[in-house]
């Protein structure tokens, strides 16, 4: 386990902003990893931020009129367009600043969405925004299914998970496709900063947010967000499940800065995927053979990643 996390109590008061920008009293489920991740993200972002929120759990739980949990300027428009609305916000702030109609200082536009709003219905808008090079941070809070509408399968749902639209049954083991890797798709867009993160490694996540904010251009963070409700695990297991996802190599934490890969949480020896799967009811039905298929795939993906970490130089090194 990472040292930073072990000494969290000691370091947290000095490292984490006391100011709350995502306030208590919202209506998220007990043990919601996504709500925690958003709270941490906001602390890392600070006040000069505009948040654009795709439709999803977080919009629903945080903005029930006439209340709001947001102490940052916040805009929700629809499900697929957090990236394109964010493009407009960024362009608006830029031109108004240039014309002297708003204060002359940096304000970061941050678009956020769940996995459905990012990897499925919002992928086109995300791709467009990243391609155009807006000064925009996009954070995907990936809880691996359409949790807001009732745990339906998304492109980010992992192989073998049981969901309400691709359930396990006597003739099915749940999801038959592998999880879509949007972080890699963002790398392929030549986005200068791409990272994966998880709320179970809070300082790692916050450092990545701080790094992404400093990028003058597009940046992308894919934050695994444990959903006790949809993953069928007790709320108090939320943090543990996130750690297991990382330590089994199912969801490695890394960053890609100007094309250069770096593991931010080193895992010397991967734990068996079983330790992650057994925590969650959504994998309860899996046979030993199916778990073996997952283990092999995780090993293979992890090796692919390690290969990139070891072999791929940064863009500046390629200029020689």
């Amino acid at each position: 386990m990472s040292i930073i996390v072990e000494n969290f109590d000691l370091y947290a008061p000095r490292l984490v902003d006391k100011e709350e920008y995502f306030s208590a009293g919202h209506r998220a489920c007990q043990g919601c990893g996504e709500a925690l991740a958003i709270r941490l993200m906001c602390k890392a972002l600070g006040k000069d931020t505009v948040i654009v929120n795709a439709t999803g759990c977080m919009e629903v739980v945080s903005s029930l009129y006439p209340t709001t949990a947001w102490k940052l300027p916040w805009l929700h428009v629809a499900f697929p367009n957090a990236a394109s609305v964010g493009s407009g916000v960024e362009a608006g702030l830029k031109v108004l600043r240039r014309k002297g109609r708003i204060a002359d200082r940096d304000i970061k536009t941050v678009s956020i969405g769940g996995d459905g709003g990012t990897v499925d219905i919002g992928l086109q808008a995300l791709s467009g925004a990243m391609e155009r090079g807006h000064d925009l941070l996009y954070v995907c809070f990936d809880n691996e299914a359409y949790m807001n509408t009732g745990i339906q399968r998304s492109g980010a749902t992992p192989f073998g998970a049981s969901t309400t639209t691709e359930p396990a049954g006597s003739a099915s083991f749940g999801k038959k496709a592998w999880k879509k890797n949007v972080a890699e798709i963002m790398v392929a867009h030549n986005v200068p900063y791409v990272a994966t993160a998880c709320h179970s490694y809070p300082l790692d996540f916050m450092n990545k947010v701080k790094k992404a904010v400093k990028v003058k251009g597009p940046s992308y963070i894919h934050c695994l967000s444990v959903c006790p409700t949809g993953w069928r695990l007790p709320p108090e297991q939320c943090i543990k499940a996130g750690r297991m996802a990382v330590q089994t190599g199912i969801f490695p934490l890394y960053e890609v800065e100007d094309g250069k890969y770096r593991m931010t949480i080193e895992t010397r020896e991967l734990r068996p995927v079983e330790e992650y799967l057994k925590l969650q009811g959504r994998f309860r039905h899996l046979s030993e053979d199916e778990k073996k298929v997952i283990q092999e795939r995780v090993n293979q993906e992890y090796k692919k990643l390690m290969n990139k970490v070891e072999c791929l130089p940064s863009w500046s090194d390629l200029k020689e």
Binding site: W70, K71, S84, S87
Partner: protein
């Protein structure tokens, strides 16, 4: 000083928008509106205006980007047609409910299938109930005038609603006309700088686009309806100011030779010019016919309509869209409903004409006037007719 120039109307629309100094333009190519954003991008590229031009990857993103930009307080413009407008459909009611004064030009075009790039009004009619102000232009001059008026109307503190200007695809977008252009100083005098009511900015934190439960949703819809209805007052004021400054008059319904006319035609968009010639012809033949040109579609000018049809025996309403399986076409049904309670309302016939670019000629309107005269004698059984169907 006002300048007269021959110009393609789409280019002229872009020039008019440029005179309004938009801050953000976001658009995606689709025929036949494309020359509007294309020419605007030229204007931005040449540094004639200081604006962010976002080449989005879809119409959905075009309106989404406009929505985001407008929420920051930027003056915002987009343009589209047909399927592009449908693709914007998800965002259309959100922009109006959030009271963001986005201005959009629609180069009206038929909806697929079969795919057809030519003009009719089925695109905007599909978006009729989205809470936008919706205005129809007759010719290039009206497109230019309405584009400049549009920002003043939409951004008015008592309005704050998005507005679409409809110009017929090809019949208007691609036609070269002599057009009077006001100069920058004149436009600056007419159009004040946009002073947004609420903006996304850390100095004054607020949440936009929140979740509305059943307890408040009805009230939110009532507020939106009231806002749209009330916008008519401002529209009329702005048109009055326009007339005072530029000498060209705008009315929700423009009447042509309707005084004492037994038969009235009612058109929207570019058909109005052709119909005018048909009315002149009919008058020469001693047929008592007049013309109403409906320019303001939303908010619908009910009072103006009731006054405009007083004394007429038959009203022939032209529609350029079909409401499949409905009681009449969109404009026909609207007008029947608006006149239903009038004790001396005219007989209403509803002709669907000019679909998917089918030419609408002076001869067609003369025939429709004759149909109207016939209808007065023997009441037609059909509530509407698709005019000129071949092989039937």
């Amino acid at each position: 000083m006002t300048k007269r120039a021959g110009m393609e109307i789409a280019f002229a629309a872009a020039e008019a928008v440029a005179l309004c100094k938009p801050d953000v333009v976001a658009a995606y190519p689709i025929t036949p509106n494309t020359h509007i954003p294309e020419h605007l991008s030229d204007i931005v590229a040449d540094g004639r205006i200081d604006a962010e031009f976002i080449c989005v990857e879809s119409e959905h993103s075009a309106l989404s980007a406009c929505c985001g930009a407008s929420a920051t307080g930027a003056r915002t413009f987009t343009a589209t047609s047909s399927q592009g407008l449908l693709f914007m459909g998800e965002v259309m009611p959100i922009v109006s409910a959030m009271r963001l004064p986005v201005v959009m030009a629609i180069g009206n075009r038929a909806l697929s299938a079969p795919i057809n790039i030519w003009n009719d009004h089925s695109d905007i009619m599909s978006q009729r109930d989205m809470g936008w102000i919706s205005i129809f232009a007759l010719n290039g001059q009206e497109v230019v005038d309405m584009a400049i008026q549009a920002f003043k109307i939409a951004e008015h503190r008592e309005v704050l609603l998005p507005l679409n200007i409809n110009l017929d695809g090809f019949q208007l977008t691609h036609v070269v006309e002599p057009i009077l252009f006001p100069d920058q100083a004149e436009v600056d005098r007419f159009l004040p700088e946009y002073k947004p009511y609420a903006t996304l900015h850390p100095d004054k934190v607020l949440s936009m686009g929140t979740l509305g439960m059943p307890e408040i949703f009805t009230e939110a819809m009532k507020a939106k309806d009231v806002a749209l209805i009330n916008s008519k007052k401002v529209i009329l004021e702005v048109w009055k100011e326009w007339e005072e400054q530029f000498g060209r008059m705008y009315e929700p319904i423009e009447a042509y030779k309707t005084e004492g006319a037994d038969m009235l035609l009612l058109t929207m968009g570019s058909m109005g010019d052709t119909a005018e010639v048909a009315i002149d012809e009919s008058r020469k033949r001693k047929v008592s016919a007049g013309l109403l040109r409906l320019k303001l579609w939303r908010p619908f000018p009910i009072e103006e309509l009731r006054n405009a049809v007083k004394g007429a025996k038959v009203l022939a309403v032209m529609d350029r869209a079909v409401s499949f399986g409905g009681s009449a076409a969109p404009v026909g049904a609207e007008i029947r409903a608006a006149l239903y309670g009038e004790p001396d309302r005219p007989l209403i016939i509803n002709e669907i004409i000019g679909l998917g670019g089918r030419d609408v000629t002076v001869g067609d309107f003369i025939q429709i006037v004759e149909k109207a005269a016939q209808a007065e004698k023997e009441k037609p059984e059909e509530a509407y007719e698709i005019y000129g169907v071949r092989g039937s």
